[in-house]
Protein backbone atom coordinates (compact mmCIF):
# COMPACT_ATOMS: atom_id res chain seq x y z
CA UNK A 1 0.00 0.00 0.00
CA UNK A 2 1.28 3.48 -0.83
CA UNK A 3 2.20 5.53 2.20
CA UNK A 4 -0.49 8.08 1.42
CA UNK A 5 -3.16 5.38 1.62
CA UNK A 6 -1.69 4.20 4.89
CA UNK A 7 -2.02 7.75 6.21
CA UNK A 8 -5.71 7.63 5.49
CA UNK A 9 -6.16 4.20 7.07
CA UNK A 10 -4.28 5.16 10.22
CA UNK A 11 -6.22 8.42 10.61
CA UNK A 12 -9.46 6.46 10.43
CA UNK A 13 -8.41 4.22 13.31
CA UNK A 14 -6.87 7.10 15.24
CA UNK A 15 -3.26 6.00 15.44
CA UNK A 16 -1.87 9.27 16.80
CA UNK A 17 1.63 7.87 17.15
CA UNK A 18 1.79 6.37 13.65
CA UNK A 19 0.36 9.17 11.55
CA UNK A 20 3.15 11.79 11.80
CA UNK A 21 5.79 9.28 10.66
CA UNK A 22 3.59 8.05 7.84
CA UNK A 23 2.93 11.58 6.65
CA UNK A 24 6.66 12.16 6.49
CA UNK A 25 7.11 8.84 4.63
CA UNK A 26 4.42 9.83 2.14
CA UNK A 27 6.16 13.15 1.52
CA UNK A 28 9.44 11.28 1.05
CA UNK A 29 7.71 8.97 -1.39
CA UNK A 30 6.88 12.05 -3.44
CA UNK A 31 3.20 12.61 -2.65
CA UNK A 32 2.20 16.27 -2.76
CA UNK A 33 1.36 17.82 0.61
CA UNK A 34 -2.09 18.84 -0.54
CA UNK A 35 -2.84 15.27 -1.64
CA UNK A 36 -1.78 13.94 1.73
CA UNK A 37 -4.01 16.51 3.41
CA UNK A 38 -6.85 15.40 1.15
CA UNK A 39 -6.21 11.77 2.11
CA UNK A 40 -6.62 12.70 5.76
CA UNK A 41 -9.76 14.73 5.01
CA UNK A 42 -11.15 11.67 3.20
CA UNK A 43 -10.26 9.57 6.21
CA UNK A 44 -12.13 11.89 8.52
CA UNK A 45 -15.15 11.75 6.25
CA UNK A 46 -15.20 7.99 6.77
CA UNK A 47 -14.95 8.61 10.52
CA UNK A 48 -17.83 11.12 10.39
CA UNK A 49 -20.02 8.74 8.43
CA UNK A 50 -19.33 5.89 10.83
CA UNK A 51 -20.17 8.14 13.77
CA UNK A 52 -23.43 9.28 12.14
CA UNK A 53 -24.30 5.64 11.51
CA UNK A 54 -23.64 4.76 15.14
CA UNK A 55 -20.78 2.41 14.27
CA UNK A 56 -18.21 4.33 16.28
CA UNK A 57 -18.45 6.56 19.35
CA UNK A 58 -17.07 9.84 20.64
CA UNK A 59 -13.64 8.55 21.78
CA UNK A 60 -12.94 6.99 18.36
CA UNK A 61 -13.82 10.28 16.72
CA UNK A 62 -11.62 12.24 19.12
CA UNK A 63 -8.54 10.09 18.55
CA UNK A 64 -9.03 10.18 14.79
CA UNK A 65 -9.19 13.98 14.88
CA UNK A 66 -6.13 14.04 17.12
CA UNK A 67 -4.25 11.76 14.73
CA UNK A 68 -5.10 14.03 11.84
CA UNK A 69 -4.00 17.12 13.79
CA UNK A 70 -0.63 15.45 14.44
CA UNK A 71 -0.31 14.67 10.75
CA UNK A 72 -1.14 18.23 9.77
CA UNK A 73 1.65 19.50 12.03
CA UNK A 74 4.18 17.54 9.97
CA UNK A 75 2.56 18.70 6.79
CA UNK A 76 2.36 22.40 7.60
CA UNK A 77 5.83 23.48 6.42
CA UNK A 78 5.26 21.81 3.05
CA UNK A 79 1.70 23.10 2.73
CA UNK A 80 2.52 26.78 3.10
CA UNK A 81 4.33 26.74 -0.24
CA UNK A 82 1.44 25.22 -2.15
CA UNK A 83 -1.73 26.99 -3.12
CA UNK A 84 -4.28 27.09 -0.34
CA UNK A 85 -6.63 24.14 -0.13
CA UNK A 86 -8.79 25.79 2.52
CA UNK A 87 -12.55 25.85 2.06
CA UNK A 88 -12.57 29.15 3.96
CA UNK A 89 -12.83 30.19 7.57
CA UNK A 90 -15.50 28.88 9.92
CA UNK A 91 -16.38 30.79 13.10
CA UNK A 92 -17.83 28.41 15.69
CA UNK A 93 -19.16 28.93 19.20
CA UNK A 94 -21.78 28.02 21.77
CA UNK A 95 -24.43 30.70 22.23
CA UNK A 96 -24.94 32.98 25.19
CA UNK A 97 -26.08 31.37 28.43
CA UNK A 98 -24.87 27.92 27.40
CA UNK A 99 -21.67 26.34 28.62
CA UNK A 100 -21.92 22.92 26.96
CA UNK A 101 -18.98 22.39 24.66
CA UNK A 102 -18.46 18.69 23.99
CA UNK A 103 -20.70 18.66 20.93
CA UNK A 104 -19.36 21.98 19.71
CA UNK A 105 -15.78 20.71 20.01
CA UNK A 106 -16.58 17.62 17.97
CA UNK A 107 -18.28 19.70 15.31
CA UNK A 108 -15.23 22.00 15.35
CA UNK A 109 -12.93 19.04 14.72
CA UNK A 110 -15.03 17.56 12.00
CA UNK A 111 -15.64 20.79 10.08
CA UNK A 112 -11.93 21.57 10.53
CA UNK A 113 -11.02 18.12 9.25
CA UNK A 114 -13.17 18.71 6.20
CA UNK A 115 -10.85 21.54 5.17
CA UNK A 116 -12.08 24.71 6.89
CA UNK A 117 -9.86 26.98 8.99
CA UNK A 118 -11.54 27.06 12.36
CA UNK A 119 -11.94 30.01 14.70
CA UNK A 120 -13.43 28.70 17.94
CA UNK A 121 -14.77 31.57 20.04
CA UNK A 122 -15.74 29.29 22.92
CA UNK A 123 -18.88 28.97 25.03
CA UNK A 124 -21.44 31.45 26.39
CA UNK A 125 -20.88 33.88 23.52
CA UNK A 126 -23.17 36.85 22.95
CA UNK A 127 -24.33 37.66 19.39
CA UNK A 128 -21.89 40.58 19.09
CA UNK A 129 -19.00 38.20 19.84
CA UNK A 130 -19.94 36.13 16.80
CA UNK A 131 -20.20 39.32 14.74
CA UNK A 132 -16.84 40.54 15.99
CA UNK A 133 -15.23 37.25 15.02
CA UNK A 134 -16.75 37.40 11.54
CA UNK A 135 -15.35 40.92 11.11
CA UNK A 136 -11.94 40.14 12.54
CA UNK A 137 -11.22 37.07 10.46
CA UNK A 138 -10.49 36.77 6.77
CA UNK A 139 -12.50 34.79 4.31
CA UNK A 140 -15.29 33.71 6.68
CA UNK A 141 -17.50 31.33 4.74
CA UNK A 142 -19.37 29.65 7.56
CA UNK A 143 -20.70 30.46 11.02
CA UNK A 144 -21.61 27.53 13.25
CA UNK A 145 -23.68 28.04 16.40
CA UNK A 146 -24.30 25.39 19.02
CA UNK A 147 -27.01 25.31 21.73
CA UNK A 148 -27.67 22.43 24.14
CA UNK A 149 -30.35 23.88 26.39
CA UNK A 150 -33.96 24.67 25.66
CA UNK A 151 -33.29 27.87 27.62
CA UNK A 152 -30.72 28.92 25.04
CA UNK A 153 -32.80 28.19 21.93
CA UNK A 154 -33.99 31.83 22.08
CA UNK A 155 -30.32 32.90 22.24
CA UNK A 156 -29.69 30.88 19.09
CA UNK A 157 -32.43 32.80 17.34
CA UNK A 158 -31.07 36.10 18.69
CA UNK A 159 -27.63 35.23 17.38
CA UNK A 160 -28.85 34.38 13.88
CA UNK A 161 -31.02 37.54 13.82
CA UNK A 162 -28.14 39.75 14.95
CA UNK A 163 -25.75 38.30 12.37
CA UNK A 164 -28.31 38.89 9.61
CA UNK A 165 -29.05 42.42 10.84
CA UNK A 166 -25.34 43.28 10.95
CA UNK A 167 -25.43 43.34 7.17
CA UNK A 168 -22.28 41.21 7.01
CA UNK A 169 -22.32 38.82 4.08
CA UNK A 170 -20.43 36.14 2.23
CA UNK A 171 -21.03 33.26 4.64
CA UNK A 172 -23.65 30.68 5.55
CA UNK A 173 -24.99 29.92 9.04
CA UNK A 174 -25.32 26.38 10.34
CA UNK A 175 -26.88 25.55 13.72
CA UNK A 176 -27.15 22.46 15.87
CA UNK A 177 -27.25 20.91 19.34
CA UNK A 178 -29.51 18.40 21.06
CA UNK A 179 -32.76 20.46 21.29
CA UNK A 180 -32.35 21.99 17.81
CA UNK A 181 -34.38 20.51 14.96
CA UNK A 182 -34.30 21.08 11.22
CA UNK A 183 -37.65 22.81 11.56
CA UNK A 184 -36.40 25.16 14.28
CA UNK A 185 -33.31 25.95 12.22
CA UNK A 186 -35.50 26.92 9.32
CA UNK A 187 -37.83 28.98 11.51
CA UNK A 188 -34.97 31.11 12.82
CA UNK A 189 -33.53 31.61 9.35
CA UNK A 190 -30.39 29.51 9.55
CA UNK A 191 -29.06 28.12 6.28
CA UNK A 192 -28.58 24.60 7.55
CA UNK A 193 -28.92 22.17 10.41
CA UNK A 194 -27.17 18.89 11.11
CA UNK A 195 -27.95 16.34 13.81
CA UNK A 196 -24.35 15.28 14.51
CA UNK A 197 -20.73 16.17 13.88
CA UNK A 198 -20.23 13.87 10.90
CA UNK A 199 -23.17 15.24 8.98
CA UNK A 200 -22.26 18.79 10.10
CA UNK A 201 -19.04 18.54 8.08
CA UNK A 202 -20.91 17.26 5.04
CA UNK A 203 -23.57 19.97 5.31
CA UNK A 204 -20.87 22.60 5.76
CA UNK A 205 -19.14 21.65 2.51
CA UNK A 206 -22.45 21.45 0.70
CA UNK A 207 -23.84 24.86 1.66
CA UNK A 208 -20.56 26.68 1.21
CA UNK A 209 -20.19 25.24 -2.28
CA UNK A 210 -23.77 26.12 -3.21
Amino acid sequence: MAKIDEVKEQVIIGKTKMVPGLVQAALDEGSAAKDILQAMIDGMKVVGDRFSAGEIYVPEMLIAAKAMAKGVEVLKPSLSGEASTSLGTCVIGTVEGDLHDIGKNLVNMMIGSAGFDMVDIGVDQAPDKFIEAIKNNKNVKLVACSALLTTTLPALKKTVDAIRESGLQGFKIIVGGAPVTAQFAEEIGADAYAPDAGSAAEKAKEIVAA
Partner: protein, 338 residues
Protein backbone atom coordinates in the same frame (compact mmCIF):
# COMPACT_ATOMS: atom_id res chain seq x y z
CA UNK B 1 -55.87 2.88 46.88
CA UNK B 2 -52.29 1.72 47.05
CA UNK B 3 -49.71 3.91 48.73
CA UNK B 4 -47.17 5.58 46.49
CA UNK B 5 -44.55 3.01 47.32
CA UNK B 6 -46.86 0.04 46.95
CA UNK B 7 -48.01 1.36 43.61
CA UNK B 8 -44.42 1.73 42.45
CA UNK B 9 -43.53 -1.80 43.49
CA UNK B 10 -46.61 -3.19 41.73
CA UNK B 11 -45.59 -1.30 38.60
CA UNK B 12 -42.02 -2.51 38.44
CA UNK B 13 -42.92 -6.07 39.44
CA UNK B 14 -45.60 -6.49 36.83
CA UNK B 15 -48.33 -6.66 39.49
CA UNK B 16 -51.52 -4.67 39.87
CA UNK B 17 -50.80 -0.96 40.06
CA UNK B 18 -53.96 1.12 40.45
CA UNK B 19 -52.61 4.18 38.60
CA UNK B 20 -49.43 5.41 36.91
CA UNK B 21 -46.61 6.19 39.28
CA UNK B 22 -46.49 9.97 39.02
CA UNK B 23 -42.87 11.00 38.31
CA UNK B 24 -40.77 11.23 41.49
CA UNK B 25 -43.68 10.94 43.95
CA UNK B 26 -42.49 7.74 45.62
CA UNK B 27 -39.01 9.16 46.24
CA UNK B 28 -40.20 12.58 47.37
CA UNK B 29 -39.28 12.12 51.02
CA UNK B 30 -37.64 15.33 52.18
CA UNK B 31 -39.68 18.50 51.72
CA UNK B 32 -36.64 20.56 52.67
CA UNK B 33 -34.42 19.55 49.75
CA UNK B 34 -34.60 20.92 46.21
CA UNK B 35 -35.16 17.55 44.55
CA UNK B 36 -37.25 16.21 47.43
CA UNK B 37 -34.72 13.47 48.18
CA UNK B 38 -32.23 13.20 51.04
CA UNK B 39 -29.27 15.26 49.92
CA UNK B 40 -27.44 16.17 53.12
CA UNK B 41 -24.63 14.39 54.96
CA UNK B 42 -21.35 15.56 56.50
CA UNK B 43 -19.33 14.80 53.36
CA UNK B 44 -21.68 16.61 51.01
CA UNK B 45 -21.98 19.50 53.45
CA UNK B 46 -18.20 19.96 53.49
CA UNK B 47 -17.90 20.17 49.69
CA UNK B 48 -18.22 23.83 48.70
CA UNK B 49 -21.04 24.66 46.29
CA UNK B 50 -21.21 27.62 44.00
CA UNK B 51 -24.31 29.81 43.94
CA UNK B 52 -25.67 31.55 40.87
CA UNK B 53 -23.66 34.66 40.08
CA UNK B 54 -21.09 33.96 42.77
CA UNK B 55 -17.36 33.62 42.13
CA UNK B 56 -16.23 30.07 41.21
CA UNK B 57 -15.36 27.66 44.03
CA UNK B 58 -13.32 24.46 44.30
CA UNK B 59 -15.38 21.43 45.33
CA UNK B 60 -14.17 18.63 47.62
CA UNK B 61 -12.18 17.03 44.77
CA UNK B 62 -10.54 20.31 43.77
CA UNK B 63 -12.74 20.72 40.69
CA UNK B 64 -13.48 24.39 39.99
CA UNK B 65 -17.20 25.03 39.67
CA UNK B 66 -18.52 28.21 38.09
CA UNK B 67 -22.05 29.56 37.80
CA UNK B 68 -22.25 32.76 35.76
CA UNK B 69 -25.43 34.75 36.46
CA UNK B 70 -26.84 34.36 32.95
CA UNK B 71 -26.85 30.54 32.75
CA UNK B 72 -29.26 28.03 34.30
CA UNK B 73 -26.79 25.80 36.14
CA UNK B 74 -23.27 25.40 37.51
CA UNK B 75 -20.41 24.02 35.46
CA UNK B 76 -16.97 22.47 36.01
CA UNK B 77 -14.22 24.67 34.54
CA UNK B 78 -11.73 22.88 32.31
CA UNK B 79 -9.26 25.36 30.88
CA UNK B 80 -5.59 24.41 31.25
CA UNK B 81 -5.30 26.42 34.42
CA UNK B 82 -8.24 24.79 36.21
CA UNK B 83 -8.15 21.13 35.19
CA UNK B 84 -7.25 18.99 38.20
CA UNK B 85 -5.71 16.21 36.08
CA UNK B 86 -3.56 17.59 33.30
CA UNK B 87 -1.72 14.33 32.63
CA UNK B 88 -3.67 11.15 33.31
CA UNK B 89 -0.52 9.13 33.98
CA UNK B 90 0.22 11.47 36.89
CA UNK B 91 -3.24 11.44 38.45
CA UNK B 92 -2.02 10.00 41.74
CA UNK B 93 -0.05 13.16 42.41
CA UNK B 94 -3.02 15.49 42.05
CA UNK B 95 -6.25 13.63 42.83
CA UNK B 96 -7.19 13.63 46.45
CA UNK B 97 -10.60 12.36 47.47
CA UNK B 98 -12.47 14.31 50.13
CA UNK B 99 -12.11 13.08 53.72
CA UNK B 100 -14.76 10.74 55.03
CA UNK B 101 -13.86 10.64 58.72
CA UNK B 102 -16.41 12.81 60.41
CA UNK B 103 -17.38 12.33 64.05
CA UNK B 104 -20.67 10.58 64.75
CA UNK B 105 -22.13 13.83 66.04
CA UNK B 106 -21.86 15.27 62.53
CA UNK B 107 -23.89 12.39 61.09
CA UNK B 108 -26.44 12.61 63.88
CA UNK B 109 -27.35 16.14 62.83
CA UNK B 110 -28.83 14.75 59.63
CA UNK B 111 -30.82 11.95 61.20
CA UNK B 112 -34.00 13.82 62.20
CA UNK B 113 -35.07 14.25 58.59
CA UNK B 114 -34.57 10.54 57.94
CA UNK B 115 -36.70 9.75 60.98
CA UNK B 116 -39.37 12.13 59.73
CA UNK B 117 -39.94 10.23 56.47
CA UNK B 118 -43.35 8.60 56.21
CA UNK B 119 -42.13 5.14 55.26
CA UNK B 120 -45.62 3.87 54.62
CA UNK B 121 -46.07 6.29 51.81
CA UNK B 122 -42.62 6.94 50.33
CA UNK B 123 -39.13 5.46 50.26
CA UNK B 124 -36.18 6.89 52.17
CA UNK B 125 -34.34 7.94 49.03
CA UNK B 126 -30.80 9.24 48.89
CA UNK B 127 -29.77 11.39 45.98
CA UNK B 128 -26.26 10.73 44.68
CA UNK B 129 -24.19 12.73 42.17
CA UNK B 130 -21.87 12.65 40.39
CA UNK B 131 -21.35 9.07 39.23
CA UNK B 132 -18.04 7.35 38.54
CA UNK B 133 -17.81 8.40 34.90
CA UNK B 134 -18.88 11.95 35.70
CA UNK B 135 -16.31 12.21 38.49
CA UNK B 136 -13.66 11.23 35.95
CA UNK B 137 -14.56 13.90 33.41
CA UNK B 138 -15.07 16.53 36.08
CA UNK B 139 -11.42 16.01 37.01
CA UNK B 140 -9.97 16.37 33.52
CA UNK B 141 -12.57 17.56 31.06
CA UNK B 142 -14.53 15.36 28.69
CA UNK B 143 -12.16 15.46 25.71
CA UNK B 144 -9.06 14.47 27.67
CA UNK B 145 -11.08 11.89 29.53
CA UNK B 146 -12.43 10.13 26.47
CA UNK B 147 -9.06 10.16 24.72
CA UNK B 148 -7.43 8.67 27.81
CA UNK B 149 -9.61 5.57 27.51
CA UNK B 150 -7.60 4.80 24.37
CA UNK B 151 -4.22 6.22 25.15
CA UNK B 152 -3.77 5.35 28.81
CA UNK B 153 -6.29 2.65 29.65
CA UNK B 154 -4.42 1.36 32.68
CA UNK B 155 -4.16 4.79 34.29
CA UNK B 156 -7.88 5.31 33.68
CA UNK B 157 -8.66 1.95 35.28
CA UNK B 158 -6.54 2.83 38.30
CA UNK B 159 -8.29 6.15 38.71
CA UNK B 160 -11.70 4.47 38.36
CA UNK B 161 -10.65 2.02 41.05
CA UNK B 162 -9.66 4.89 43.34
CA UNK B 163 -12.95 6.71 42.80
CA UNK B 164 -14.93 3.48 43.28
CA UNK B 165 -13.16 2.60 46.52
CA UNK B 166 -13.99 6.04 47.84
CA UNK B 167 -17.61 5.66 46.79
CA UNK B 168 -17.80 2.28 48.52
CA UNK B 169 -16.52 3.74 51.78
CA UNK B 170 -19.02 6.57 51.42
CA UNK B 171 -21.79 4.05 50.72
CA UNK B 172 -20.94 2.21 53.92
CA UNK B 173 -21.30 5.40 55.94
CA UNK B 174 -24.63 6.20 54.29
CA UNK B 175 -25.95 2.72 55.03
CA UNK B 176 -24.64 2.73 58.62
CA UNK B 177 -26.23 6.06 59.37
CA UNK B 178 -29.30 6.42 57.19
CA UNK B 179 -30.36 2.89 56.22
CA UNK B 180 -31.63 4.12 52.84
CA UNK B 181 -34.31 2.19 50.97
CA UNK B 182 -33.64 3.69 47.58
CA UNK B 183 -30.52 5.18 46.02
CA UNK B 184 -31.03 7.54 43.11
CA UNK B 185 -27.60 7.81 41.57
CA UNK B 186 -26.62 10.04 38.69
CA UNK B 187 -24.16 9.19 35.94
CA UNK B 188 -24.83 10.39 32.40
CA UNK B 189 -23.44 7.98 29.86
CA UNK B 190 -24.16 9.64 26.56
CA UNK B 191 -25.63 12.28 24.31
CA UNK B 192 -29.22 12.14 23.18
CA UNK B 193 -28.20 10.05 20.15
CA UNK B 194 -25.47 7.73 21.34
CA UNK B 195 -23.65 6.47 24.39
CA UNK B 196 -20.31 8.18 24.97
CA UNK B 197 -18.48 4.85 24.99
CA UNK B 198 -19.03 1.81 22.84
CA UNK B 199 -20.72 -1.03 24.73
CA UNK B 200 -17.44 -2.99 24.70
CA UNK B 201 -15.48 -0.17 26.22
CA UNK B 202 -18.23 0.58 28.71
CA UNK B 203 -18.19 -3.03 29.82
CA UNK B 204 -14.43 -3.12 30.11
CA UNK B 205 -14.16 -0.02 32.28
CA UNK B 206 -17.42 0.39 34.17
CA UNK B 207 -19.29 -2.86 34.58
CA UNK B 208 -17.24 -4.28 37.46
CA UNK B 209 -16.93 -1.04 39.44
CA UNK B 210 -20.69 -0.49 39.22
CA UNK B 211 -21.45 -4.10 40.09
CA UNK B 212 -19.38 -3.70 43.21
CA UNK B 213 -20.90 -0.37 44.17
CA UNK B 214 -24.55 -1.16 43.54
CA UNK B 215 -24.07 -4.72 44.75
CA UNK B 216 -22.83 -3.36 48.05
CA UNK B 217 -25.96 -1.24 48.48
CA UNK B 218 -28.11 -4.26 47.80
CA UNK B 219 -26.21 -6.32 50.37
CA UNK B 220 -26.89 -3.62 52.88
CA UNK B 221 -30.62 -3.78 52.39
CA UNK B 222 -31.20 -1.07 49.83
CA UNK B 223 -34.37 -2.15 48.02
CA UNK B 224 -34.06 -0.22 44.79
CA UNK B 225 -31.26 1.24 42.73
CA UNK B 226 -32.55 4.00 40.49
CA UNK B 227 -29.92 5.10 38.01
CA UNK B 228 -30.29 8.50 36.38
CA UNK B 229 -28.85 8.79 32.89
CA UNK B 230 -30.71 11.11 30.54
CA UNK B 231 -29.15 10.09 27.31
CA UNK B 232 -29.27 7.43 24.66
CA UNK B 233 -28.12 4.22 26.32
CA UNK B 234 -30.43 1.54 24.96
CA UNK B 235 -27.24 -0.34 24.03
CA UNK B 236 -26.15 -0.38 27.69
CA UNK B 237 -29.34 -1.80 29.23
CA UNK B 238 -27.95 -5.35 29.57
CA UNK B 239 -25.13 -3.92 31.68
CA UNK B 240 -27.56 -1.90 33.79
CA UNK B 241 -29.37 -5.13 34.54
CA UNK B 242 -26.14 -6.85 35.46
CA UNK B 243 -25.25 -3.97 37.78
CA UNK B 244 -28.57 -4.50 39.58
CA UNK B 245 -30.21 -1.28 38.46
CA UNK B 246 -33.94 -1.64 39.16
CA UNK B 247 -35.09 1.51 37.42
CA UNK B 248 -33.37 3.46 34.68
CA UNK B 249 -34.49 7.04 35.23
CA UNK B 250 -33.97 9.55 32.43
CA UNK B 251 -34.42 7.27 29.42
CA UNK B 252 -34.99 9.84 26.68
CA UNK B 253 -37.34 9.24 23.74
CA UNK B 254 -34.52 8.39 21.32
CA UNK B 255 -34.10 5.10 23.21
CA UNK B 256 -37.44 3.83 21.93
CA UNK B 257 -38.65 3.04 25.41
CA UNK B 258 -41.63 0.90 24.42
CA UNK B 259 -39.27 -1.47 22.58
CA UNK B 260 -37.01 -1.64 25.63
CA UNK B 261 -39.98 -2.52 27.81
CA UNK B 262 -40.89 -5.37 25.49
CA UNK B 263 -37.34 -6.61 25.53
CA UNK B 264 -36.31 -6.11 29.15
CA UNK B 265 -39.49 -5.51 31.18
CA UNK B 266 -39.40 -7.58 34.33
CA UNK B 267 -35.63 -7.33 34.58
CA UNK B 268 -35.52 -3.54 34.77
CA UNK B 269 -38.04 -0.72 34.62
CA UNK B 270 -37.95 2.56 32.73
CA UNK B 271 -38.69 5.99 34.16
CA UNK B 272 -38.80 8.94 31.81
CA UNK B 273 -39.70 9.16 28.11
CA UNK B 274 -40.84 12.78 28.56
CA UNK B 275 -37.80 14.74 27.39
CA UNK B 276 -36.92 18.10 28.88
CA UNK B 277 -35.90 19.11 25.40
CA UNK B 278 -39.43 18.53 24.10
CA UNK B 279 -41.63 19.93 26.87
CA UNK B 280 -39.45 22.05 29.14
CA UNK B 281 -39.19 25.06 26.87
CA UNK B 282 -40.06 28.72 26.84
CA UNK B 283 -43.11 28.17 24.66
CA UNK B 284 -44.56 25.22 26.62
CA UNK B 285 -48.30 24.83 27.03
CA UNK B 286 -50.49 22.38 28.96
CA UNK B 287 -51.63 20.94 25.60
CA UNK B 288 -48.06 20.31 24.46
CA UNK B 289 -47.28 18.58 27.75
CA UNK B 290 -50.45 16.48 27.58
CA UNK B 291 -49.65 15.38 24.08
CA UNK B 292 -46.22 14.06 25.11
CA UNK B 293 -47.51 12.46 28.31
CA UNK B 294 -50.31 10.75 26.41
CA UNK B 295 -47.92 9.34 23.87
CA UNK B 296 -45.58 8.04 26.57
CA UNK B 297 -48.37 6.43 28.63
CA UNK B 298 -50.15 4.87 25.69
CA UNK B 299 -47.03 3.51 24.05
CA UNK B 300 -45.41 2.14 27.19
CA UNK B 301 -48.35 0.88 29.20
CA UNK B 302 -48.85 0.10 32.85
CA UNK B 303 -45.98 -2.20 33.66
CA UNK B 304 -42.26 -1.52 34.00
CA UNK B 305 -42.82 2.11 33.09
CA UNK B 306 -42.97 5.32 35.12
CA UNK B 307 -43.85 8.45 33.16
CA UNK B 308 -41.44 11.17 34.23
CA UNK B 309 -39.57 14.25 33.10
CA UNK B 310 -36.12 13.02 32.03
CA UNK B 311 -34.09 15.35 34.25
CA UNK B 312 -32.55 13.80 37.34
CA UNK B 313 -34.79 15.20 40.05
CA UNK B 314 -38.25 16.71 40.44
CA UNK B 315 -38.71 20.15 38.93
CA UNK B 316 -38.08 21.72 35.54
CA UNK B 317 -36.12 24.54 34.01
CA UNK B 318 -39.31 26.49 33.22
CA UNK B 319 -41.67 27.09 36.11
CA UNK B 320 -44.82 25.04 35.97
CA UNK B 321 -43.70 22.37 33.53
CA UNK B 322 -43.13 19.66 36.16
CA UNK B 323 -46.55 20.24 37.71
CA UNK B 324 -48.16 20.31 34.28
CA UNK B 325 -46.68 16.86 33.59
CA UNK B 326 -48.00 15.59 36.92
CA UNK B 327 -51.50 16.82 36.09
CA UNK B 328 -51.32 15.22 32.67
CA UNK B 329 -50.23 11.89 34.20
CA UNK B 330 -53.16 11.96 36.64
CA UNK B 331 -55.43 12.51 33.70
CA UNK B 332 -53.96 9.51 31.89
CA UNK B 333 -54.35 7.40 35.03
CA UNK B 334 -58.07 8.21 35.16
CA UNK B 335 -58.38 7.29 31.52
CA UNK B 336 -56.29 4.12 31.43
CA UNK B 337 -56.90 2.64 34.89
CA UNK B 338 -60.64 3.61 34.94
Amino acid sequence: MLTKRQNLLETIRGGKPDRFVNQYEAFDCDPGSIFGMIMGDPIAAASPRVGRGEPPVKDGWGVTRAWPPNVPGAFPVHDEEHKVVKDITQWEKVVKAPRLDYPQSEWDKFKPKIAAVDRNEVFVTIFGAPGIFEQLHYLMGMDDCLIAFYEEPQAVKDLIQYVTDWKLSYAKLLCDNFAPEVILQHDDWGSHRSSFLSPDMFEEFFLEPYKKWYGYYKERGVQLIVHHNDSYSANLVPFMIEMKVDIWQGCVTTNNVSELIKKYGGKISFMGDIDNGLVDREDWTQELVEQHVRRACEENGKHYFIPCITQGGKGSVYDGVYDAISRAIDKMSKEMFN
